[in-house]
Each structure stands twice: as C-alpha cells, then as structure tokens.
C-alpha cells in the first residue's frame, strides 16, 4: 500500500537516495562501520530470499540456515582448499544450496503447513550434523581463516573497499532478481498456490514443480547471502547452519512484514542492529529477541511495514469516506 500511495517518481528518488547513501558508507567509517553494513546487507538478502517461500508461496521453512550455512562452507572450501577465484567460489556455494533446496523441496512438500515446517527443521539439523563431522569444516572451531581470493583473478578482495562494492552489487542484484521473480507470471502462480492450492492445481498448474522451483530459488539466493558473509568474515562456522539462524530469519521476515517484497529487509536491519549494538549484554539479547518474537506473533502480525501500510490505508480510507459524506450532503 505504501508503494501505491507514493508516486513512481518519489519512489525512484527515494531508491536513488538510499543507493547513494550505501555507496557513501565505506568513505565515512567514523559514522557507520562498513563491515557491519556488509553483514546487514547479507541478512537483508537472506530474509528477502526466505520470504519468497514464506510470503509469496505460503510455505514456512524452518531450515533455511542449512542453505545459508552450507553455501558458506562450500565457498570457504573453494577459496581455502581449492584456491579458486572469488566469484567462482560464490557461484559454487549458490549452486550447491540451490540443489540442496530442491532436495529439501522434494521431501518437504509431501506434507503441508506445520508438518512441512517440522520436516525442513529436521532436514536442516541433518545438514548441521553432516557439517559438524565433515573433515574439512573444522567442527566446533569452524573454517578459518578463509582467504578472500581475487575477483575474476584480478581484483584483490582483501581491500575492504572493493569487497564492499562486491557485496553491495551482489545484494542489489539478488534483490532485483527477487523483485523480478515476484512480479513475473511465475510469481503470480506462486501466489495462486498460496491462496488456494487445489484451485491452482485444477487450473492445470503443476503445483509441486512450482513449489520445488520456489524452494530452489529461495535456497540459492539464501546461499548467495551465506557465501557473501563467508567472504566478508573469512569464516564459515556452525552458527551459520544452526537452527537458531533459521528462527532468526523467520523473525526478521515476520517483524518486517511478510506481505511485501522488501518488508523483510527492515526486519533484518532491526535484528542485526539489535545483535550488533547490544552484543555486550550477552544472553539478554536472546531474551529480548524471544520477547520481540512473542510480541510479533501476539500483537502485530503484519510486521513493521505492514502496520504502517495498514495505518496509512485506514487513514486515507476514513478521509475518503468523510469527503464522500460531505459531497453527499451537498
């Protein structure tokens, strides 16, 4: 609705402003820490990719950390043990997680709703234990330090500045792709499945194929986020595949608002900022995140963006009614 209320020109200039601010970030490290901004971008991409399934297809996956984390591990392996260049390492991670997503999809869509969520959770736990025991992951210590490699074999990613622009470009590319997917005929079919699956099926859509496709796309883009985080922090660890992260990404999406394309981005920013700036409080942050979760479910299920939309929409609607009543009186 916010999108509807703003004219395209205003929207375009807001977007340009945001982009300009993001481009300026690495040149003003005294205002905001660029590494933190990179981390936020990774989680923004992750949450928006997750929402392809939750918001747009109506599938709740409780195992998205598996895609994020395994992509991080694969990228780390390609960079450290195989010495590949950065973009190929990232691509390898993305491909692996997209494939993993398809496998999860094939198994999980045999059930629906709550069962499906539990199945994805269990499958993700299996991935977690696999990485815990695989010889190259360093188990509890994680994989570190991972060299950042050279982009196209030319540009050294050890420079934080070039890395920042790689992350920015990849995130924007990923978000653009999600925007395109959501607004494509394919996205329409996904929404049709969300709203009324039997009807979509009776209209002749191969529902299962669409769901598996959505799983693979969502997983691949989540994988991109994981790979980028691995390159930024030179680290792939068990926290990247742990189910707490799967819970975090659900919270980000719920908090931001799952009925929009970029609502989850707002949730991701809020949660990352909370974790970053209140890190010193230790386990209290976990308690706070839990309380936010509970508040989200009980009080504002539309999420931040959704609530703003709702507020604006009702205000405009009531104004319109008042106007119409006046007209009627005249």
């Amino acid at each position: 609705m916010v999108a509807l209320l703003l004219s395209p020109a205003i929207k375009r200039s807001l977007l340009a402003l945001l982009l300009a601010a993001l481009v300026a970030v690495p040149f003003v490290p005294e205002i905001i820490y660029p590494i933190f901004v990179m981390k936020v971008m990774c989680f923004v991409l992750f949450a928006c990719a997750f929402n392809l399934l939750l918001g747009h297809t109506g599938i709740v996956s409780f195992g998205h950390a598996a895609f994020f984390g395994s992509s991080a591990y694969i990228t780390g392996y390609a960079l450290r043990d195989m010495g590949l260049s950065t973009e190929i390492a990232i691509l390898a991670g993305v491909l692996f997680s997209a494939l993993l997503g398809a496998v999860f999809g094939v198994l999980a869509i045999r059930r629906q709703g709550i069962y499906l969520a539990m199945i994805t959770l269990a499958l993700a736990q299996m991935v977690y234990f696999t990485f815990l025991q695989a010889p190259f992951t360093g188990a509890e210590d994680g994989m570190q330090p991972i060299p950042r490699g050279k982009l196209l074999g030319l540009i050294d990613m050890n420079s934080d500045l070039s890395l920042y622009f790689l992350v920015l470009a990849s995130t924007c590319g990923g978000l653009w792709l999600i925007h395109r997917i959501v607004n494509s005929p394919f996205g329409e079919v996904l929404r049709a499945i969300r709203e009324h699956e039997p009807r979509a099926r009776s209209l002749g859509y191969a529902v299962n194929r669409y769901k598996i496709m959505a799983f693979a796309l969502s997983a691949g883009l989540s994988g991109l986020a994981g790979s980028l985080k691995c390159v930024v922090f030179r680290l792939a660890s068990l926290t990247d595949v742990h189910w707490h992260l799967s819970g975090d990404v659900i919270l980000m999406t719920l908090l931001g608002g799952m009925n929009s394309v970029f609502g989850p981005a707002i949730g991701a920013i809020i949660i990352s900022a909370l974790r970053h700036y209140f890190d010193a409080l230790g386990a209290w942050v976990t308690v706070a995140v839990g309380l936010i979760f509970i508040a989200c479910v009980l009080l504002f299920r539309r999420g931040v963006l959704g609530e703003i939309d709702h507020l604006l929409a009702t205000r405009f609607a009531s104004r319109r009614i008042v106007k119409e009543q006046k007209n009627a009186q005249i």
Binding site: V60, F62, L107, R110, R111, Q112, G113, I114, Y115, A117, M118, I119, L121, A122, L123, Q125, M126, F129, T130, L132, Q133, W243, G247, I250, L254, G282, A283, W284, V285, T286, V287, A288, V289, G290, L291, I292, F293, I294, C296, V297, L298, R301
Partner: protein, 295 residues
C-alpha cells in the same frame, strides 16, 4: 561371543544406551503429541520446559535441600504451572490463527527461557548427583547395567502406560478425546473446553519437566540441553504420525534403539540416522507410521 563382528558387551551396552535415550524421546514425544492433538499447536518450547525441569530439580536440591524423590513430584507441578500461565497469557490468543503461529510463539518462548537461564546460571553444565538408592550397577553376567539407567527405562514405560490409561480409561481422558475430535460439540455438552485446553497444555509440559528430572543425573544440566533434543523429538513425531499419541511413544523407544545400533556399526551417522529414517518414512508413508492422512 560376537554379533556381526562387534563384541556383545559393546553391542548390548549400546542397545541399553539407546533404550535410555529412547525413553526420553518417548516421554517427550508423548507430551508433544497430546498437546498437538487437542490444541493443534506444535510446542517448540517442549525442549525448553524439559531443560527448566532439570534446572528446577537442580536448584531446589541445592538451595532448599529438597531431594530427588520429592523433586519427581514437585518439579512437574512447578513446570506444569508455568505451562498453565503461558497458555493463559499467550497461547490462548492464537488458537484461531494458522497453527504456524503457535510454532513461532513457542519458539519465542524457547529463546526467552534459554536466554534467561543462560543469564542466571551461565552456559556451562551443572552436575546433579544420582540419588543414593539408585547408584551402582547390576552385574547381569552378560553385561554391566547401571541401576539408574534401568530405572529411567522402567519409569518411562510406566509413565507412558499410565498416560495411555488416563487417556483411554478415565472420564477426564474421555473428555480429552471428545474435545480432540469435536471441540464445539464437546463444549455444547457443557464441558469447559477452554479449561481443558489449559490443563492439557499444563500436563503435556509437566511431562517434559518430569523427563527433565529423570535426565538431570545422566546429562549435564545446562541451558541448551533441550534445544537439540526437541528437534529429534519433532522428527520422531513426524515418523510416528502426529495424530497418534501412543504411536509416537513407541516410535521414540524404537528410534532410540536404532540410534544406539548405529553407534555400534557406523558411529558417524548416529546423529543423523533419525533424520534419515524420517526422510525415508516421508517418501514411503507420508502420513507417518501410525498417522492418518490429513492436511
């Protein structure tokens, strides 16, 4: 004597360990299945309440000097009361919504409980002494059996059987079954279904707390002790079929044994075997071993 190339001491020992784990799986999945049956809520907080049970037993032992045996009664009451409060304050508000919100709400509760205990007690594990009457081992001739582990298996079987009797043979159980099938109709007959929901959640959670007391002397009592367990229990409930209360208890014991056997023959897979079985069951029998097909 060897069984498939494994000394039978090790073989029986692992089956024993598997049965002990299976006992916990059984008690936990039983509570989970009862709660799901009536409330249609997948209680993610089940593992957290298990952890709370173990901690309450530890704390009342340390600070109030209350021993193991009274704790077995007291702790489920305390944990059950916590569950009742949680149901009244929070869960109650979301029954009309998609069941997924229940999963998310209870997940939030997990974070609050785990984080809270981490703040109060630290992340490292606490030791809880085995009660004196149950220390020591029995030498059965063919294997050494720690008495406490035998006790755990026995108690779990008794608790599962007792729960089954309550559900199948008592008036309370009849109300519960009726409300599970047709809540509106049961309410129309003058049975207070909202109170029944509250009590059921309390009872299910109390079972988890009870399992926590049982586990305290075997495992380290730590804030994260329930968090990985609950996912295994989820997988077990998917395998057994969520519709079936008793099926999930049997599946729990069975999978404990399978896990134990995997430890003997291919220990690398022992942590993943439950999930592999789940994937297999989903491919062959999507509704679960004991479940009915439903949405």
């Amino acid at each position: 004597m060897e069984i498939f190339g494994i000394p039978h001491q090790a073989f029986l020992g692992q089956i024993m360990l598997g049965l002990v784990n299976g006992a916990f799986y059984a008690v936990l999945s039983l509570g989970l299945a009862i709660i799901f049956g009536l409330l249609r809520i997948v209680n993610f907080a089940h593992g957290a309440f298990f952890m709370v049970g173990a901690f309450v037993a530890f704390l009342i032992g340390r600070d109030l000097g209350i021993g193991y045996w009274p704790a077995m009664i007291l702790v489920p009451l305390i944990v059950g009361f916590l569950g009742v409060v949680f149901e009244r304050v929070a869960l109650r508000r979301i029954y009309r919504l998609d069941p997924l919100y229940g999963l998310l709400l209870t997940f939030g509760m997990v974070l609050v409980l785990e984080g809270g205990f981490r703040v109060a007690m630290g992340s490292s594990g606490q030791r809880f002494a085995t009660p004196e009457a149950l220390r020591g081992v029995w030498n059965l001739g063919f294997m050494i059996l720690p008495i406490y582990r035998a006790f755990v298996i026995l108690v779990a079987v008794v608790v599962c059987a007792g729960t089954w009797i309550v559900i199948e043979k008592t008036r309370m159980g009849a109300y519960l079954r009726a409300a599970t099938e047709r809540p509106e109709l049961t309410q129309a007959f003058g049975i207070n279904v909202p109170v029944l929901l509250t009590l059921t959640y309390g009872a299910g959670v109390a079972l988890a707390g009870f399992a926590g007391v049982l586990a305290a002397p075997i495992q380290q009592v730590s804030p994260s002790m329930g968090s990985d367990l609950v996912i295994i229990v989820f997988a077990i409930v998917v395998i057994g079929g969520l519709g079936s209360v008793f099926g999930s208890a049997i599946t729990g014991l069975g999978l404990g044994v399978i896990e134990g056997l995997t430890k003997v023959y291919y220990s690398e897979a022992s942590t993943t075997v439950v999930f592999l079985v789940m994937a297999l069951v989903l491919l062959l029998r999507p509704a679960g071993l004991f479940g009915r097909e439903e949405g």
